[in-house]
């Protein structure tokens, strides 16, 4: 088995062993279920067979949950020193980063898989647009991947989990909302730059069912950037 998969499997296992996975699943499903079906601008209020309300609530819940998943990935290993044991095994720094990234992404995908009953329920209530649903889920996965890679980078910078969490959240906040706000308060080229950088713009167009190669490139480049920087800061290790 490839080293990336071995590490991903072990990390996923430890999410479930340490109850993080169960807490995250319960909270995510609780929040998104409550706001999708029961409260606020829920599906019955909108009165259309669309998962828009779920996508917009998941956009926020995942934003808060991914830093909680990624904060321990590297920071804990650095704190306990196990990183030395891990990196002197027959694995490269890149494989460690990819394995950890994959484990968090798999957990998010498991959480999203539990919301598939929403789709089934809704398809019984009316005609849903399959393309829109697939794009929406794809957008959520891509967004989570972007935030996981940012979180992983934050976790690689420190050996304190709380610092990693807050750092990931504050970097994420720029993409999530601040760039969007800046875009609307500027004009001309700065406005264009900020609106390109804003994650919400890209996510919105995907969740409406529009697949644009620019959106895909945007998400994938954030992921690459995050993973690249994580690997870089892992390689620059020093004796503690």
């Amino acid at each position: 088995m490839n080293a990336v998969l071995i590490i991903a499997k072990k990390e996923l296992q430890s999410y479930f062993d340490s109850l993080i996975a169960y807490i995250m699943l319960v909270l995510f499903l609780g929040f998104s279920g409550f706001f999708t079906w029961l409260y606020g601008s829920d599906i019955f209020m909108v009165g259309q067979a669309t998962l828009q309300s779920f996508f917009s609530i998941a956009y926020w819940t995942l934003f808060f949950f991914t830093p909680a998943l990624t904060m321990r990935l590297l920071a804990e290993e650095k704190k306990t020193g196990t990183i030395e044991m891990l990196l002197t095994k027959a694995v490269s720094d890149r494989q460690v980063v990819l394995g950890k990234f994959l484990s968090a992404l798999m957990l998010v995908m498991i959480a999203l898989a539990f919301t598939l009953p929403y789709v089934i329920t809704l398809s019984k209530l009316g005609n849903i647009d399959a393309g829109e649903v697939i794009c929406g889920y794809g957008g959520l996965v891509l967004m989570s991947a972007a935030y996981i890679s940012i979180g992983l980078y934050a976790s690689s910078l420190t050996n304190n989990q709380i610092v990693a969490f807050l750092l990931a959240l504050s970097i994420g906040l720029f993409f999530h909302i601040i760039f969007d706000v800046l875009a609307s308060s500027f004009t001309g080229i700065p406005a264009q730059v900020f609106s390109t950088l804003s994650l919400s713009n890209h996510f919105e167009s995907m969740s409406r069912g529009v697949v644009d190669s620019r959106d895909l490139i945007y998400f994938i480049s954030i992921v690459f950037m995050g993973l690249f920087l994580s690997e870089l800061s892992l390689t620059k290790r020093n004796l503690n």
Binding site: M1, A3, I6, I7, K10, Q13, S14, D17, S18, T80, G81, T82, I83, E84, M85, L86, L87, T88, K89, A90, V91, S92, T235, R237, N238, L239
Partner: protein, 309 residues
């Protein structure tokens, strides 16, 4: 697979942790790495195992440079890091299986290797517990088991016997000796008798530089220019014996240690032995030489000499 270290250096800021050291370790050799805290032992080991990047110089394993083939070479190294970091929330068996898989042990052999390690390291009673529930000695055994799980050709052990009880220490030393017959072993320790018990060769390092290299015996020879002997001579007054001893050519100093028992401590002139002269003196005078004990310089003294000042 041999280890060749060529002009290895590493610098942290202004401080040189390792300063141009070179040595070689061959298969079938156990090298003991000694030095005071902060001498650069761990840094050197971390560079051999590929955890830290090499500052200057090179480390070669089986002729291949760690700089170029680092990730491939890690497969051939078993490493027990300082302080033995472990995943405390993992059960022992799961942890060993994880390590075996990472080290590229074929999936059909993993079970066999894990059972073998559990047996060799005496983990049978504790194998289903989480590592966090184990005592320090058992954790140390888990650390050793993970280092040896893939049957590596090179073993690098940073203080392998800390936290073990005396029985376990004897067992682990025996195990290291056994492994050292075929493999290349480098171990660091603060316990000097341990080096004598397990190592073929001793390397003492101080402030990043090698200050001594050789077997325990050859280090002793280097360190003791002068032979020291404890004597007990009967049938004469201590003063008379002192006087006669002082006349002997090869004797440098004589000291009366115990008046009532007629015990003396004699230091020979450098490079010479006075044992025969003493014996003949006693025969000539008709004294009884009831004790003659050569004093070996202790490794502790050699170590202290080389690493202070």
């Amino acid at each position: 697979m041999n280890i060749q270290i060529e002009n290895l250096s590493k610098q942290y800021g202004y401080q040189k942790a390792v300063d141009h050291i070179s040595f070689e370790v061959r298969p079938g050799e156990v090298l003991g790495f000694l030095g005071p805290n902060g001498a650069g032992k761990s840094t050197t080991m971390k560079m051999i195992t590929g955890y830290l990047s090499i500052g200057e110089g090179d480390v070669r394993l089986g002729g291949k440079s760690v700089r170029e083939y680092g990730d491939d070479l890690k497969r051939h190294i078993g490493y027990l890091p300082e302080n033995n970091p472990l995943y405390l929330d993992m059960p022992v068996i799961d942890y060993l299986e994880f390590c075996a898989a990472l080290q590229g042990v074929h999936s059909s052999d993993i079970g066999k290797r894990v059972r073998e390690m559990v047996r060799v390291c005496g983990l049978n009673a504790e194998k289903h517990k989480k590592i966090g529930e184990l005592s320090k000695g058992y954790r140390q055994r888990v650390g050793l088991a993970q280092a040896m799980i893939h049957d590596p050709e090179v073993l690098v052990l940073d203080e392998p016997t800390t936290g073990l009880d005396p029985n376990q220490i004897v067992e682990i030393r025996k195990l290291i000796r056994e492994l050292g017959k075929e493999k290349t072993v480098v171990l660091s320790t603060h316990i000097l008798p341990e080096v004598e018990a397990t190592c073929d060769r001793i390397l003492i390092i101080n402030k990043g530089k090698i200050v001594a290299d050789g077997s325990a015996e050859s280090l002793r020879k280097q360190a003791t220019g002068q032979e020291i002997i404890k004597l007990r001579i009967e049938d004469a007054s201590p003063d008379a014996i002192m006087q006669e001893l002082r006349r002997l050519q090869n004797i440098d100093t004589v000291e009366l240690v115990d008046k009532t028992m007629n015990r003396f401590e004699v230091q020979s002139a450098s490079g010479k032995s006075s044992r025969r002269e003493i014996f003949q003196l006693c025969v000539q005078k008709g004294w009884v030489l009831s004790e003659l004990i050569p004093i070996e310089t202790r490794l502790e003294d050699i170590f202290r000499n080389l690493t202070t000042n």
